[in-house]
């Protein structure tokens, strides 16, 4: 009884606590909204705006005007177009390189001036493709396109079968050479023609000619025009030789007089010699693999340093850390003072709103930079990122700008929220949104408009790019990234100042 009473009492207390908690939650619809709708909304926007299509790269094609290479390019222009958007065709390698450096094209394709002569001389013709990409996961559009292009070119020019059948033709040519030798011995004595040895030779010769005919038929189907004509000629001779051989084999079987047989053998001998000569004309030095892949791809990534996946993500991690820390600290700044009553105290004091903002701004800037300088140093050291000189200066500037913009955004958030908890939750939502929309996990071009608009208000959208440029390319901050971060800072601080003034009024 006692135990039952205790358990009932405990249950009543638990029920009281649970009922109180539920009641409090129900009375905080904004909290529920933020907890539930916030992340769901981010996921929905991401799902609706994300399209996993690596866009067709734009390229500049460098080819010597009126050259054999230019003719080849014009002939296969359609195949080029299937792999890339051709932005320019120029004879100047330098101007194409300029387009690449300025980011107006993703790659430069250099077509050799005389590719067929190179192939004839036993060398593969090299198509060089230059590009700039540090992203090991999503920066493969140019190399993939280039690879596809060369493969298509190779397929278009020579099919695998040509090489295989040509090999067979050459093999038959060697056999013909041997058989010719035997025929020379046979034709000396008419009586020997009906000997078992002679019968064996003519039977083997018949097989070889049949096999040669099949191979030549296959080659003729895929061979380009010039080679095709030659194969047709050889095929004619093979057929003629097979007919003569049929006659001789019939004579062998029916025992026809030696002179007739000899004349047939002589004709066959002449045809075989001509056939041997013609099959021998197929170039011996050109390997079958060369004929299968006459074009070779030479890919050149012009970036200073090709990072590993972990190295590639390091600048993004740093940018997100800076943004999150600065934004979280600043988002609590104003709301905390209002909630504690300190703001009222400040308003009686000589402290102006501007002074309050600048004071807080400086403190958070120093704290964020100090903490993240250590993180940056650890990342560079641990991941062996080869940064120096301009890269370090650029990284420092990028860190300052991302911190400044994030603090500005955080202070604005702090004037808009009513509770510290809201500020913390919104900071977390901004972090999640940044992972998806700021180009951390996926490049920006995979997000469709208008969702991409969300990216433009996130400091990390610019920060990730700026820090990648600095840490992985030793490059200077781009004007676009600088302007983006500066704009976020100015707008958010301006609005914050305005809102604090209004709150007081």
């Amino acid at each position: 009884m006692k135990l039952a009473g205790a358990s009932t009492g405990s249950w009543l207390r638990i029920r009281a606590v649970a009922s109180k908690e539920l009641g409090m939650l129900v009375r905080q619809p904004r909290l529920i909204l933020l907890l539930l709708v916030g992340p769901v909304l981010i996921m929905v926007i991401f799902a609706l705006s994300f399209h996993f299509q690596i866009s067709t790269p734009s390229v500049a094609v460098v080819v010597k005007p009126h050259s054999q290479g230019a003719k080849l390019f014009e002939r296969f222009r359609g195949r080029f177009r299937s792999q890339a958007k051709i932005q320019a065709v120029t004879g100047s390698e330098a101007s194409a390189e300029n387009l690449l450096q300025s980011g107006r094209v993703d790659g430069v394709v250099l077509i050799p001036p005389d590719p067929l002569s190179e192939i004839k001389n036993g060398h593969r013709a090299t198509i060089t493709v230059r590009y700039r990409s540090i992203n090991p996961l999503y920066g493969t559009a140019v190399p993939n396109g280039a690879d596809g292009l060369v493969r298509e070119l190779n397929q278009a020019i020579v099919k695998k079968l040509i090489a295989r059948e040509l090999k067979a033709v050459r093999s038959e040519h060697q056999t013909l050479e041997k058989l010719n030798g035997r025929l020379d011995q046979i034709k000396g004595t008419a009586g020997a023609l009906s000997s078992p040895q002679a019968r064996q030779t003519t039977a083997t010769l018949d097989n070889n000619l049949s096999s040669l005919e099949n191979s030549l038929n296959a080659v003729q189907k895929y061979a380009p025009d010039g080679l095709g004509n030659r194969i047709s000629g050889i095929l004619g001779r093979v057929k003629k030789a097979r007919k003569l051989l049929d006659d001789i084999r019939s004579a062998q079987n029916s025992g026809v007089k030696g002179i007739e047989k000899q004349a047939g053998v002589l004709k066959l001998d002449n045809e075989l010699q001509a056939l041997q000569k013609e099959t021998g004309a197929i170039p011996k030095n050109v390997s079958a693999s060369l004929l299968v892949n006459p074009f070779r791809l030479n890919l050149e990534n012009l970036v200073r340093f090709q990072p590993t996946v972990v190295q590639f993500y390091a600048p993004g991690v740093l940018s997100l850390l800076i943004q999150h820390m600065a934004l979280s600290l600043a988002s609590l700044a104003i709301v905390r003072e209002y909630l504690s009553g300190a703001q009222e105290f400040f308003e009686v004091s000589p402290l102006g709103n501007g002074e309050l903002l600048v004071g807080k701004f400086l403190a958070y800037l120093i704290a964020t930079l100090a903490a993240n300088a250590a993180v940056a140093a650890a990342l560079i050291w641990y991941l062996h990122i080869p940064i120096n000189g301009v890269g370090l200066e650029s990284l420092a500037v990028a860190m300052v700008l991302v911190s400044v913009a994030s603090i500005g955004l955080g202070l604005l958030l702090s004037t808009l929220v009513r509770r510290e908890l809201q500020a913390v939750q919104i900071s977390m939502l901004i972090l999640i949104a940044s992972v998806f929309f700021a180009g951390f996990l996926f490049p920006l071009y995979l997000t469709k408009e208008p969702a991409r608009g969300l990216s433009y208000i996130l400091p990390s959208t610019y920060g990730i790019q700026a820090m990648q440029d600095a840490m992985l390319q030793n490059g200077w901050l781009s004007s676009g990234n600088f302007l983006g971060l500066a704009l976020i800072t100015v707008v958010s601080l301006g609005l914050t100042r305005l809102l604090i003034g209004r709150k007081r009024a």
Partner: protein, 319 residues
């Protein structure tokens, strides 16, 4: 010389009128106590006087200027001690004070000296390295007082300083206020403890957003009861006592007449309101000659009584 003045001041929040027709005048070097129950508009009035709100109607002048238009120089002359603890619990007592001193532009050397002085003054010097979160509620109040006076302001606005404090601490705080007044500072103190009015030089009674009365504590008492009170107890039968009481009406106003009994003997207790007790007493004793006077003394009513009396819509002392 009045350092704080309001004329017909009113403040509305939307349709809700929080203050109506407030007229006040606070002289330099005095403790002015604004006394009123919770929700009477004390904090709103203090916020208007410190420039946090502007009045919806009427005029407010502090140092002969509108506080809403105060610049840093005028603000340096104000000290403010809010009702709740608004300093930083995670910072030490000294660090909190240093921050406030910095807000008022005290240089490093002066700051060190003043921090020492005020912490010793509020008896927190020994606790200077302790976190504000780790000191008692009373100490936090004293820390806030130190913060309000660290820059040596001319006027101190103190909002309900003694709320939730034990009587000993309340007494100590008022001692410190008086000491500050003696230094020549003006203190504007709000409180809901009506008995604290005794410690003020002048008092304003605020109820329902209106000043019911203002003046020195004695003036308010007089105002509440229409003069000084003499309380007496008469023995003898009720009829005789009634005759004496009727006779006393020639000296003052008799009220609160209560019939009682002690050990089977009847008693009559009554209060008499007179203009001046000292001059009225001989005449009273003359009238009461032959009466069985068990006790008669000058009664000083508590401020609670005064406040209740003033708050009553009809102040007819004879009722």
């Amino acid at each position: 010389m009045a350092v704080i003045e309001t004329r017909n001041l009113a403040r509305r929040f939307g349709r809700n009128k929080v203050l109506t027709d407030v007229n006040l005048s606070v002289e330099k070097g005095e403790i002015f106590g604004l006394i009123g129950p919770s929700g009477s508009g004390k904090s709103t009035l203090i916020r208007i006087l410190t420039g946090h709100f502007e009045p919806s109607e009427g005029e407010v002048r502090v140092f002969d200027q509108s506080p809403a238009k105060f610049g840093p120089a005028e603000r340096r002359r104000l000290g403010f001690m809010p009702q709740g603890f608004i300093l930083y619990p995670q910072l030490s007592v000294r660090r909190n004070l240093s921050f406030v001193a910095g807000l008022y532009g005290l240089g490093l050397f002066k700051r060190r000296r003043r921090i020492r002085e005020v912490l010793q003054y509020v008896e927190l010097w020994d606790a200077r390295w302790r976190k504000a979160a780790k000191i008692s509620g009373g100490m936090q109040k004293r820390l806030q007082l130190a913060a309000a006076m660290v820059h040596e302001p001319d006027i101190l606005f103190i909002d309900e300083p003694t709320a939730n404090l034990d009587p000993i601490l309340r007494h100590k705080l008022w001692d410190q206020f008086e000491h500050l007044r003696d230094e020549g500072r003006t203190l504007f103190v709000t409180t809901q403890y009506v008995d604290e009015a005794e410690r003020c030089d002048r008092v304003g009674l605020l109820s329902g957003g209106t000043i019911l009365a203002s003046g020195t504590p004695d003036e308010l008492r007089r105002k509440a009861f229409g003069g000084e009170l003499i309380q007496f107890t008469l023995g003898g039968n009720v009829g005789d006592a009634g005759s004496f009481l009727a006779a006393l009406e020639s000296v003052g106003h008799v009220y609160e007449v209560r019939r009682d009994a002690q050990n089977g003997k009847p008693l009559t207790r009554a209060r008499l309101v007179v203009e001046d007790a000292d001059t009225a007493l001989p005449e009273i004793f003359e009238i009461l000659e032959g009466a069985e006077v068990l006790s008669a003394d000058v009664h000083t009513p508590s401020f609670e009584e005064v406040f209740i009396r003033l708050e009553e819509p009809d102040q007819d002392s004879g009722s």
